[in-house]
């Protein structure tokens, strides 16, 4: 079914496309341009900036810091939140209801305000600022991860799965580890990737809480921006590539999720999973 689009619609979409593509394109060209400032097109093409960038150890340190921060924060987030959402969603509906409202906190609590409070309490204390930063990132991504995990549980109809698993004699722990976790893994991975790419580009809290002592990609970017715009552009290009890879992964994942949701295999897998648990439980029962 092919519809003819009105010319005005095409024109408007084209304007939006140009508005959104231009900054990306210009940054990329700037990263490979010899000199660009007096002419409409750059005077020449060079790999000099990229070379300089990859020769700078601070760049690797910054990437390392960003990944360290993102990985540690994500692990803390998942370890705390996966069991917590499982319990809250199934056992404490009232808490679950209030947690829904919590998602707005991320908009009501800009990083600057959170940093004000955190500096007040923790600056000059024994607790290392890196941990405070991890805690701050935990708070800012709480709504996203809560909603992400919760939606995945709703999607697999976890309530009836738990019921079935209980009926078969599995403990809550076994149900969580063997039934719920394997089934929500795609959904959780998807939200995790989204949060991870956000963590990689974190700036506000890092800059205010630790500042120049802990250079992440964005802080390095800003510093280079004030020294040499071409190198700053190269950093951005590398950063875009990383983000694009994460985005590509997300896209593949959501495709996979849709496939598995459409497949009847899913139901059979549930069946097999609970079958295994029954077998396991009966075998342990025999031993004891």
């Amino acid at each position: 079914m092919k519809k003819k689009l009105p010319l005005s619609t095409k024109l408007i979409l084209l304007i939006f496309a140009i508005f959104y593509a231009t900054p990306f394109v210009s940054t990329t060209i700037y990263a490979f341009a010899t000199k660009w400032g007096k002419t409409i097109l750059p005077q020449g093409v060079t790999l000099e900036w990229i070379k300089q960038l990859f020769g700078d150890t601070n760049f690797y340190v910054a990437i390392g810091h960003s990944f360290l921060l993102a990985i540690v924060s994500l692990i803390v987030l998942l370890v705390v939140m996966l069991p917590a959402v499982y319990v809250v969603y199934h056992m404490f509906p009232k808490v679950d209801y209030t947690m829904q409202y919590f998602s707005l906190v991320s908009y009501a609590l800009p990083g600057v305000i959170l940093a004000t409070g955190l500096l007040k309490i923790y600056s000059g204390s024994q607790i290392p600022m890196f941990l405070v930063l991890v805690g701050a990132l935990f708070i800012t991504s709480l709504p996203l991860i809560y909603q992400g995990i919760r939606n995945s549980m709703v999607a697999i109809d976890s309530k009836s799965l738990i019921e079935a698993s209980k009926m078969l004699g599995a403990s809550s722990m076994t149900t969580f580890l063997k039934v719920i976790l394997p089934n929500i893994r795609f959904g959780v991975l998807l939200s995790s990737l989204m949060i991870f790419s956000g963590f990689l580009g974190e700036f506000v809290l890092t800059n205010l809480l630790i500042g120049g002592r802990f250079q992440t990609i964005r802080i390095y970017m800003l510093r280079r921006m004030n020294e040499n715009g071409h190198i700053a552009s190269s950093v951005m290009v590398v950063y875009f590539i990383i983000l694009f890879l994460v985005g590509f992964g997300m896209n593949q994942l959501s495709k996979k999720m849709k496939e598995s949701a459409n497949n009847t295999r899913k139901k059979r897998r549930f069946g097999r999973e609970s079958q295994k648990i029954v077998e396991k439980n009966t075998s342990t029962a025999k031993i004891s």
């Binding site: 800009p110 600057v112 004000t116 205010l208 552009s233 983000l243």
Partner: protein, 279 residues
Amino acid sequence: MLANMKKKLPFIAVVFPLVCMLALFLCMPVIGMVLSSFQTDTNGAWTLSNYHEIFTNSFFYQAFYNSALIGLFSSVLGLILAIVLCNCLLKLSEKWQEKITVVTNLVANFAGVPLAFAFIILLGNSGILKLAFPHLMTFNLYSWRGLVLTYLYFQIPLGVIFIYPAMRKMKKEWIEVSDLFGASRSFYWRKVGIPLLMPTLGSTFIILFANGLGTYETAYALVGSNINLLTTRISALIAGDVYARPNVGSALAVVFFGMMVLAMILSQLLVRRVRRTSL
């Protein structure tokens, strides 16, 4: 009751780390911030002078004014353009709509330092676009207009994320029916479309406005502290080397936080109305 508690005890233990994190990194900082906003910066004595200063010193008044101005313009324009974009997107095929929504989500993350720098290349003092189109020479990127333009880049996708699902639910048949009865398109939007979308638009506007007020990174990378904004002012007060006056910063942050919470309550009330009137 007690037996019930005992049964729930292991589950409460599972939630305990979450409670700890919330207490350590959300509740305590907010309480600490509120308390310190009532103390002087010099000797920590209890006082109301911080608040008195905020509301009388024109310097802080200006920060509120600038932030509100930029927040308002970027959110109103962002909302209108998001509606225009959604309206066009809905005319595309399903496949394209899906692709564009993925891109929209990606673009919404392109804010802050990279965005500021991209706009400096394009429209800064010797920006490329200024060379190509000389009549853009008068446009100053490092002014509130420049900030609004830059903010629009992430406000529009954010608006689309909230509005698109609601606009999708509007049935094409409704337009057809209204056409059949001889109503003009503008009449349809005035009497059917806009009223139905109103609650969604209202709550989206509030979120965009709050987002515009709270933006720090983009503004900091673009204008530093050349434009007096709430966020950059607070950060200079709490973490600056020269002007550090953390308790005044706290008071400013408390007032700011109060405004944000108020805005969010408002948007929630609107969302509840949405649930009642469907869409």
